[in-house]
């Protein structure tokens, strides 16, 4: 391919600004579409095209008078067409996420998807009331969202900055006048969206403040005019173009302070379209003679004539021109492309390309060219790689790639990442540009759009398979790439009502598995929105995130599964969430029946009731025949000081409950306590002060003994069956307390002690009465004797006894207690040796 061929579609604007215009598709639509009779609109970033008949043109109409909307892909493949049955359309356009926007005369906005499916509708503002909408603009705000502005028949302008979050603002009003607006544009910059509006010669800026009075603007237009007929704003909202009725095109900054140029077009009619091509030039199109007039920022011009109507769509890096037969791209030739392909270019990339071409031809001149760029090879390779992104023609792409590859061979440590990435992206671009898909996306647009959005666009087109391949090919992270696509595929599957539930669920699960990033609840939610509840529940089985699963199940009023999943998750917060929700929604009886099937839920609810609702707690215990718990509750209540007046009845109830639960021993304990309580009351009454009430059996008996009422104590002891052993303890404790040592001794001699005599020693020692303690030492049982002699600090006796008992261990122990080098210690030592020798 010769250099001349490569630059055949280039043209110069002025002296050094190259533009190019080339065909991207031959339109595949039917011959009978003549754009002259239609209003067309195409979504940015190579999106779909929608057309409807231009009702202001007279043509033969077939069928009913209702307008028909047809949607085509970029390559002219028909996607759908449908009848418009709503109110008359003022304006039709696409949003950045490829939704078709209709603005109706009555102030309602209607959205359809690219398959013609109705999505939703909303009213712009109640304030519009009876006034009709007469004109509208669809614009992109700096956050790449789509907004709309409408003008009413009384020339008020309303603005919605972002269709996804439709909040309407009324702009400041024009100064009253008999004149009608002639043209207007929306300038959406940063956080400020304004409207530039022309009324014949006057020019105003309307702000987002209803009460602001607009001041007339005076752009620096030197050639006389009486009206501004058309205006255009550049993609970045920094530049504007004004077209006057004297045929002049004025270019300047959007604040009108700087003027770039003023060019005579020699045409004084209002152009059908006035569009910025990138940020460098403006294109005006007149339908009357099918002329395109291109004007650069410095006044350079160029004219094209077509043989039929065309339609222009602005892109960030150029303009797409749609005609009856062709789809073309008009853009400034990217710098790097210029550097390589421009005739007589001396840029390294250009030489490298030459070298590569000669190398392909097996010509030695390859070497000469390589020598020329030896110093700049790296740059040369990079230029070729950069340039290839801008090319649509696969032959040219191959040529550049070969050159880059060839150049790479001469660089020792070339990092191939960029090369590899570019080739990847190029393959993706070629794949989506294929007429079957029909998205004529440029490299620049892809960078701006992001790969993720491209995937979304393919998903919207239901090109799941291609999207999946691209995601894998570009090695996108799963939750942005394959998982994301699969979820959408699944949602689509789910929405197809004719498919059988069981199969759909199975097919989806097979394909998606437990892939990271898959949200089954999202799919299930779609299914439920499509009215397929059963399917939704089936799908939720695969959801790994318990909180999502449970939430949706609750929404679907699948109470039991929600509860069981919540418990399975182990997260009690989820269980409580379900419990509280169910408690709110269900009848109490049903609620109780539901949760009692789940022990964890039941225990959590019981715990909840303990804190919040003791009444409900008792009801559960009764329902569950949990007599023991009922009794416990009664006992606890009976101990509550505040409920002292109910103590008797509470204890009776506790005993009853225990009896029902066949815990007779516990029941009789309660009975005994009740009896005790009554007895204590009578004691307190006699005493005239509270002393006994609330004490245990043991304590009561001790108190009786301590007050020296042995008779009552004996009686009490018999009545409450205090065991012999413990009664002995009580006796000696009380006697020690009273320090009635004589009585203690008498008591010890009365009967044989069931607890031995060691406690007697202990109790005396406790009262620091060693003298008394000594009395009982001989009676202590043999096995404890040594220990107790030591306790009473009678070490010598202890040693003797231990020796008699031949107990070396005890002797050693005694020794450890002796002060070292005392006579006792020696004695013990001799005992030990004696015992040792005897062995």
């Amino acid at each position: 391919m010769s250099a001349a061929m490569l630059t055949a579609d280039w043209f110069l604007l002025g002296r050094d600004l190259y533009f190019r215009k080339f065909e991207i598709y031959t339109m595949g639509w039917h011959q009978d579409i003549n754009l002259e009779n239609f209003i067309a609109t195409s979504a940015p970033y190579g999106g779909p095209i929608a057309i409807r008949r231009d009702e202001q043109k007279f043509i033969k109409v077939q069928g009913s008078g209702q307008p028909i909307i047809s949607i085509f892909s970029g390559s002219g493949k028909q996607i759908t067409s449908f009848k418009w049955t709503r109110r008359p359309i003022v304006c039709m356009g696409w949003s950045n996420d490829e939704k078709l926007i209709f603005i109706q005369e009555d102030g309602w906005v209607v959205l359809h998807d690219m398959f013609g499916q109705y999505l939703h509708t909303f009213e712009i503002s109640k304030k519009i009331q009876d006034a009709k909408i007469i004109d509208a603009r669809i614009f992109t705000n700096p956050h790449n969202q789509t907004g709309v502005a409408v003008m009413t028949s009384n020339f008020k302008i309303f603005l919605i900055k972002n269709l996804q979050d439709p909040k309407t603002r009324q702009l400041s009003e024009l100064i009253k006048s008999s004149l009608h607006p002639t043209s207007w544009v929306v300038i959406s910059e940063d956080n400020n969206t304004e409207v530039l509006i022309a009324r014949e010669k006057e020019l105003f800026r309307l702000k987002q403040d209803e009460h602001h009075t607009s001041i007339m603007l005076e752009p620096d237009i030197s050639n006389n005019y009486s009206s501004i007929l058309e205006m255009a704003v550049s993609f970045n909202a920094r530049h504007v173009a004004l077209f006057t009725d004297s045929g002049y095109l004025w270019l300047g900054s959007s604040n009108l302070r700087t003027k770039y140029c003023e060019t005579d077009t020699n045409i004084i009619h209002k152009p059908k379209q006035l569009v910025w091509c990138g940020n460098e030039s403006v294109v005006a199109y007149w339908e009357r003679d099918n002329t395109l007039f291109i004007v650069g920022k410095h006044g350079q011009k160029m004219m094209y004539t077509y043989d039929s109507s065309v339609y222009l769509t602005a892109e960030i890096d150029g303009i797409r021109i749609l005609s009856n037969t062709q789809h073309e791209l008009l853009q400034k030739v990217p710098d790097v492309v210029q550097k390589i392909f421009r005739i007589n270019s001396t840029d390294p990339g250009s030489f490298l390309l030459e070298a590569s071409k000669h190398y392909q031809k097996r010509s030695h001149r390859a070497n000469e060219y390589i020598c020329l760029v030896k110093q700049d090879l790296k740059k040369a390779v990079e230029q070729c790689i950069d340039a290839v992104g801008y090319e649509f023609d696969t032959e040219v792409q191959k040529m550049l790639i070969r050159a880059a590859q060839f150049g790479k061979c001469f660089i020792a440590d070339m990092d191939s990442t960029k090369y590899v990435n570019m080739i990847r992206l190029l393959r993706v671009l070629n794949a989506v540009r294929d007429p079957k898909i029909g998205i004529p996306l440029t490299f620049t647009q892809l960078q701006n759009l992001t790969q993720k959005t491209l995937l979304d666009r393919l998903i919207t087109r239901k090109e799941y398979y291609l999207a999946l391949h691209i995601a894998k090919y570009l090695q996108m992270p799963e939750e942005e790439g394959s998982s994301h696509i699969l979820v959408h595929w699944a949602k689509y599957k789910v929405s197809q009502a004719h498919l059988e539930e069981e199969t759909v669920a199975r097919v989806i699960a097979e394909k998606l598995g437990y892939t990271p990033g898959i949200s089954y609840s999202e799919i299930a939610s779609t299914a439920s929105q499509c009215g397929r509840k059963k399917l939704a529940i089936k799908l939720l089985d695969y959801e790994s995130k318990a909180s999502e699963q449970v939430k949706l199940l609750l929404e679907l009023t699948e109470n039991t599964p929600a509860l069981s999943k919540a418990i399975e998750s182990g997260d009690t917060d989820l269980v409580y969430m379900v419990i509280l929700k169910l408690r709110e929604k269900m009848a109490l009886g049903d609620f109780k029946m539901t949760i009692r099937a789940f022990p964890v839920a039941q225990s959590l609810y019981i715990k909840y009731c303990k804190e919040h609702n003791t009444q409900a707690l008792n009801e559960i215990y009764i329902q569950e025949d949990d007599f023991s718990a009922q009794a416990q509750t009664f006992i606890m209540e009976s101990l509550d000081e505040k409920k002292a007046h109910m103590r008797d009845s509470l204890l009776t109830s506790a005993a009853e409950a225990y009896r029902k639960g066949r815990k007779d021993m516990h029941a009789s304990m309660c009975d005994e306590y009740l009896k005790l309580l009554r007895y204590q009351r009578s004691l307190d009454e006699k005493l005239g002060q509270p002393k006994y009430v609330g004490k245990s059996v043991h304590e009561t008996c001790l108190l009786l003994l301590k007050s020296n009422d042995v008779k009552s104590a004996e009686k009490f002891r018999n009545e409450y069956k205090i065991p012999d052993k413990r009664y002995w303890w009580l006796r000696i404790q009380s006697l020690a307390h009273l320090e009635d040592w004589g009585e203690l001794e008498k008591f010890s001699k009365g009967k044989k002690s069931p607890i031995g005599y060691a406690p007697f020693v202990d109790i005396c020692l406790e009262k620091n009465n060693k003298q008394e303690a000594l009395k009982y030492l001989p009676k202590v049982s043999e096995d404890l004797k040594v220990k107790y002699y030591i306790k009473a600090e009678c070490l010598e006796d202890a040693a003797k006894i231990a020796f008699e008992q031949k107990d070396i261990q005890s002797l050693l122990y005694v020794q450890s207690k002796c002060p070292s080098q005392s006579s006792l210690s020696e004695k013990v030592n001799s005992f030990i040796t004696q015992l040792d020798n005897r062995k």
Binding site: P516, G517, E568, I635, H666, S696, R726, L730
Partner: protein, 597 residues
């Protein structure tokens, strides 16, 4: 790294990471409230949080005042923010409400925030809404501090009610939290390629972990890049070994805990033993308790903490001799030596101080361990553990009851008898109950029912569970040296903690056959899995010592920790244990938590 966390390093896992992570988390939360602030603390958190973020750090982030969270409102302060840092407990929410309402009446305009540790809780938020203060609260955040580092080899969640809630109330909340704690450990120390566990709670915790990991894998694409540093985790449900906590611990640290109680590495001792005779007579005693921090930052403590108390005295006196020789005979030194000596002097003095502290502590302990009370209790315990006279009512217990000794002490012994005995008749248990009710009052029934429910109080197990276990696992050893131990049984002087025996058998090669028989005797399912770990994260050197994390669900005792350390130190072992627990417990605190005292 501050000196504050030195003692956390040096183990096989650097637990200072846990500390840094928690501290960073807290700081980032504090940064959300710019300007001077006051913190109102849930009392149970003050100690643990001090382990991860000291006051100094908080001050650096303009925390001006700190108050305990009480029903009574905190005093008026001039700050921009008041932050309540609290466990998600309902009654504490009421306190928060009372505090916020009272403070809102003061003049100064403030913002109120609640940070939950470690997790928000639906019911708490509902409660705040219900009492009408939720709208006054600006930030509701989570201070995700699941584990508090105690030492180079010990971390704890510091929640005392874990066992009670899952075993008694059937409430799995804390098991979920435990699972999250283990996940957060895996985040720091890499995936754990081997899991072994015993008991229903262990199973449940592991189920939740698997589930959460699946959920997380689905959300996070950046895979953990930390290589495995923990080779195995052992999940031990406290239900499996209820015996060990009931037995009196006889290690130095264990005894300090049994007698004086250790909370967040800190214990309080009667001050008398710490004063010289002159100081004692002077009347300037400001405090009656001496507070001492007990962790391995104190080298001497690190040396003696795991020893049987009987070996401590000798060790301390040896140390004392070394120090005094170091301090004495300064006259015969050359100038060179003198210089060296002066350089070393501060170190020696630190040592000396530590020595005097521990000598004093040892004295305090000895007073108790020499008492007849202590020895008699120990003897009774040993009788039970050795399966001697276990089928009748113990006269010693009866005597304790008759003397109205502390209820928990009595219950601890009864429980031990129930668990170890194979022939205990229902009649005997009934007798105990009657005695308890007559002496301590009808309210004892409540405690008894609870203990019965968790399996601590029961009559006659038909399997002779303990007797068999004792034989199979050699739980009691007659002839172990307390001074130079050869077996872990030294921690209770003759009883080897069942849990640690299990851990030992599981990690020892070839112990599985015997284990199978043993595991059948223990309650709950056995867990034995090897979750797939990405090859890239697998440990590079398979011959390096195995790091085994033992996670006690429901709490563990200091004696158990000492026993595990003892195993790590054995020469013929290739295993090093690190310990995680829901709470550091002893028999008394364990029972108190269950019966809700």
């Amino acid at each position: 790294m501050s000196s504050h966390s030195c003692h956390l390093k040096g183990g096989r896992l650097d637990f200072s990471l846990v500390q840094t992570e928690a501290q960073d988390n807290l700081i980032s939360l504090l940064k959300k409230c710019p300007g001077p602030k006051a913190i109102v603390w849930d009392n149970s958190l003050i100690g643990p949080v001090d382990l991860v973020a000291q006051n100094k750090v908080l001050k650096e982030h303009s925390v001006m005042k700190m108050f305990p969270l009480q029903p009574e409102p905190f005093p008026e302060v001039d700050v921009a923010h008041v932050i309540f840092i609290t466990r998600p407990k309902l009654h504490l929410m009421d306190y928060v409400g009372q505090n916020v309402r009272a403070d809102a009446r003061t003049k100064t305009e403030k913002q109120y925030h609640v940070f939950f540790v470690p997790k928000k809780n639906l019911l708490c938020i509902e409660r705040l809404k219900h009492i009408g203060v939720f709208d006054s609260i600006n930030l509701v955040e989570e201070f995700r501090c699941e584990l508090f580092p105690f030492d180079a080899d010990v971390v704890s969640m510091e929640i005392s009610d874990v066992f009670k809630e899952y075993a008694l109330e059937n409430d799995p909340t804390y098991l979920y939290q435990t699972a999250q704690a283990i996940i957060s450990l895996q985040k720091l120390y890499g995936p754990i390629p081997k899991v072994w566990g015993k008991g229903a709670a262990a199973q449940q915790v592991w189920d939740v972990i698997t589930r959460l990991q699946r959920e997380k894998n689905n959300n996070v694409t950046t895979k953990p890049n930390q290589t495995s540093t923990i080779d195995q985790i052992l999940l031990i449900d406290r239900t499996v070994d209820l015996i060990t906590p009931l037995a009196t611990q006889l290690t130095y640290e264990g005894l300090i805990d049994e007698i004086f109680g250790i909370n967040n590495s800190t214990a309080h001792f009667p001050i008398d033993n710490f004063l010289s005779s002159e100081e004692r007579t002077s009347e300037s005693l400001s405090e009656d308790k001496k507070q001492i921090i007990l962790n391995s930052a104190d080298k001497l403590f690190a040396d003696i903490r795991d020893k049987n108390f009987n070996a401590v005295g000798a060790f301390l006196s040896k140390q004392a001799k070394t120090i005094s020789t170091q301090l004495d005979n300064t006259q015969e030194r050359s100038v060179q030596e003198m210089k060296l000596y002066v350089q070393k002097l501060p170190q020696i003095l630190v040592k000396k101080k530590a020595l005097s502290h521990h000598t004093a502590i040892a004295e305090c302990i000895k007073e108790v361990t020499d008492s007849y009370d202590f020895l008699d209790t120990l003897q009774t315990e040993q009788g039970f553990l050795n399966c001697i006279e276990d089928d009748k009512a113990s006269p010693y217990i009866e005597d304790l009851i008759a003397q109205e000794k502390p209820l928990v002490k009595v219950l601890r012994l009864i429980c031990l008898q129930c668990i170890t005995s194979s022939k205990l008749k229902p009649k005997v248990l009934e007798h105990y109950k009657e005695e308890l009710v007559q002496v301590y009052g009808i309210q004892v029934l409540q405690a008894i029912t609870k203990l019965e429910k968790v399996g601590l109080l029961k009559a006659q197990s038909p399997t002779c569970q303990y007797a068999n276990l004792r034989k199979a696992l050699c739980l009691t050893m007659e002839d172990t040296s307390e001074i130079n131990p050869t077996d872990i049984s030294y921690v209770h002087s003759f009883y080897a903690p069942l849990s640690v025996r299990l851990a030992h058998k599981v990690t020892k090669t070839g112990g599985s056959k015997l284990l199978k028989k043993v595991l059948k005797l223990l309650p709950g399912p056995t867990l034995n899995e090897s979750p797939a770990v990405p090859k890239t994260l697998a440990k590079s050197d398979p011959d390096a010592p195995q790091v085994v994390l033992v996670f006690f669900i429901g709490g563990c005792t200091f004696a158990e920790i000492s026993a595990l350390r003892f195993l790590s130190q054995q020469e013929d072992t290739n295993v090093e244990f690190v310990i995680a627990t829901t709470k550091l417990i002893n028999g008394t605190s364990f029972l108190e938590s269950i019966i809700g005292l």
